[in-house]
């Protein structure tokens, strides 16, 4: 119990907020994916912290699951971005504007 729960939560909250801000500000699709990754990993840090706080392994298992899911999400995301890039040569999300109204 070297590090108190508070520090875990601060780091986690920081990462999550950073990721959320990135999603709102960034326009490059690749960076958007990275921002989402940050959010997920922020959650992971919190999971580990809580897991240690309560002295159970549940949180760590949860974190492992999240990593797998995040990897899957990124793979799909990259695939789609490549497809869009091939078709329209854009990386800016704001150029995706055929669907509106």
């Amino acid at each position: 119990m070297g590090i108190s729960l508070m520090y875990y939560l601060l780091v986690s909250g920081g990462l999550f907020a950073l990721g959320l801000a990135g999603v709102l500000i960034r326009r490059n699709m690749l960076l958007l994916l990275l921002a989402v990754e940050l959010m997920l990993n922020g959650a992971n840090v919190a999971l580990i912290g809580f897991s240690r706080h309560w002295d159970v392994t549940d949180g760590q298992i949860f974190a492992l699951v999240v990593m797998v899911v995040a990897a899957a999400e990124v793979v799909i995301g990259l695939g789609l971005i490549v497809a869009v890039y091939r078709q329209r040569i854009v990386l800016d999300v704001d150029e995706l504007d055929q669907l509106k109204g």
């Binding site: 999603v23 994916l33 549940d58 949860f62 699951v65 971005i81 669907l99």
Partner: protein
């Protein structure tokens, strides 16, 4: 492992086997193999589920629970998936990647079943992610169509943010209680009296936002019209029904199930997003020219009605919600089937104008859609009316009268846009003999009949269905 997870296992096997026919050389096997495997697997899983109707059974060391609610929801998911499979038989999106298409569809159902029967928070997240990831791909399946690709990518980015919010919320719930097991959380919340605990409240707010996103409630709805419009129509229908149902059952499992003792904390935010969804959906639908987009807005409003049932936090509310969910699935599928048909028959088939005179030319589809839209608008005696009536009644009993009023006014507004396609449908045909570009095929015909029957049967057999819904609701709330 006992047989409690058998339907899910069958579905997983189906998702794998559906890929196999793609190995065959081009021809009949490769073409019809995947949908056939899917249909067989889905039907088998449905049959297995029906056999499991009964008291709760655990498997995977408590991580998965099969009770009446799980079974009922599994049947809804499978029914929706079956109709989607039938709708997809000639879908352009499935050309030369049929194995992947059907495999992903069944995989999404696996995720949904996992959500419905999950015993812990991990399962909620994992299930939601399995179905989301599968759907990101399905939305973008028509890669050569820019709109489809755009829909998929938008859905992925926004959906990933939604998932992150959900995950962070689940993390906080875990942090506040020290357990991921839903049953243990329920005990801990009760014993320790965690009402008003900031960490738990923060967690619940995030979970509501994350799940509200998946259920497409307002103000998390902005992706809905775009994605629904861009995705291949069968996938849109699937998202509007099964995905929404999965998000709703996640709400039920987490809030009405595990966190029922802090209902005072989460009732108001849920009621607010329900009201916002009803308002945003109904108002947005009023001005749409595209039938598909109108149905997207309509599904936002319907998510609001469904959330009323969650917000009540009562047995009656959950029971009404389940009934309405069944009814909603049938009527929404029916409406989307018409979109799928018109899309293939004429240019600009998504628009309301393209429906002109169609009812007289094809009375069967015309009648089915008319019935479905009447049901969506909540005309008595159809199931939509019974469901809304009960949901509003449950809201009044839970001291949420204002929410019932919002819902009733929203329904009244919705009549305007639901009747419009009906008038057009049975009105005069501006240019008789519209040339067909594609034959819609028999699959859509069967799907249409199934959806229409679904609406009629849920309307006529309301009483026994409501009994089943009560048992399912009791399984959720009872220990």
């Amino acid at each position: 492992m006992n047989i409690a997870a058998l339907p899910m296992m069958i579905l997983i096997a189906t998702a794998v086997v559906a890929l196999v026919p793609s190995l065959a050389p081009p021809g009949r096997v490769r073409h019809l193999g995947p949908p056939l495997v899917s249909i067989v697997g889905l039907v088998a899983a449905a049959g297995m589920s029906v056999l499991l109707w009964g008291d709760r059974q655990y498997t995977f060391y408590g991580a998965f629970r099969t009770d009446r609610l799980t079974v009922l929801m599994t049947l809804i998911f499978i029914a929706s998936a079956l109709v989607t499979v039938l709708m997809s038989l000639r879908e352009p999106a499935t050309v030369d990647r049929r194995g992947e298409y059907y495999s992903l569809l069944v995989a999404a159902v696996v995720g949904m079943v996992l959500v419905a029967g999950t015993g812990d928070l991990i399962g909620v997240f994992l299930g939601i992610e399995i179905l989301s990831v599968a759907l990101y791909v399905l939305c973008a399946m028509e890669v050569w169509r820019a709109r489809s690709l755009e829909a998929g990518l938008k859905y992925l980015i926004v959906g990933a943010v939604g998932s992150a919010l959900l995950l962070y919320g689940l993390t906080f719930v875990f942090g506040a209680t020290g357990s991921v097991s839903l049953e243990e959380i329920s005990d801990i919340v009760r014993v320790r009296g965690l009402g008003g605990e900031p960490l738990l409240m923060g967690g619940m707010a995030l979970v509501i936002a994350g799940l509200g996103f998946k259920a497409s409630a307002a103000p998390f709805h902005m992706w809905v019209p775009d994605v629904y419009e861009g995705a291949p129509t069968p996938i849109t229908a699937f998202m509007a029904t099964a995905v929404k149902a999965a998000a709703i059952v996640a709400f039920l499992r987490v809030f009405s199930g595990a966190l029922i003792d802090v209902v005072d904390d989460w009732q108001m935010p849920l009621a607010v997003i329900a009201a916002l969804a009803i308002i945003a959906g109904n108002v947005g639908a009023l001005v749409q020219q595209s039938f598909k987009r109108m149905m997207a807005y309509s599904s936002i409003a319907q998510a609001g009605y469904l959330l009323i049932g969650v917000a009540t936090g009562t047995l009656l509310g959950v029971r009404s919600l389940l009934y309405y969910l069944i009814a909603y699935t049938a009527m929404t599928l029916g409406a989307f089937i018409l979109v799928a048909i018109r899309e293939r028959e004429v240019e600009d088939g998504q628009s309301i104008a393209s429906l002109a005179g169609y009812g007289r030319r094809s009375p069967l589809h015309g009648v089915v859609v008319t019935v479905c839209l009447f049901a969506l608008a909540g005309f008595p005696p159809l199931s939509g009316f019974i469901g809304k009536f009960m949901l509003f009644g449950a809201a009044v009993e839970a001291d949420l009268t204002w929410l019932a009023v919002v819902g009733a006014v929203g329904s009244a507004v919705s009549v305007a846009y639901y009747l419009r396609p009906i008038f057009v449908l049975w009105g005069e045909d501006p240019e008789p003999g519209n040339a067909r570009t594609f034959d819609p095929g028999d699959g859509l015909w069967v799907a249409s009949v199934l959806a229409g029957l679904g609406v009629v049967v849920t309307s006529i057999l309301a009483s026994p269905l409501l009994d089943y819904c009560r048992e399912a609701a009791q399984a959720l709330i009872a220990p």
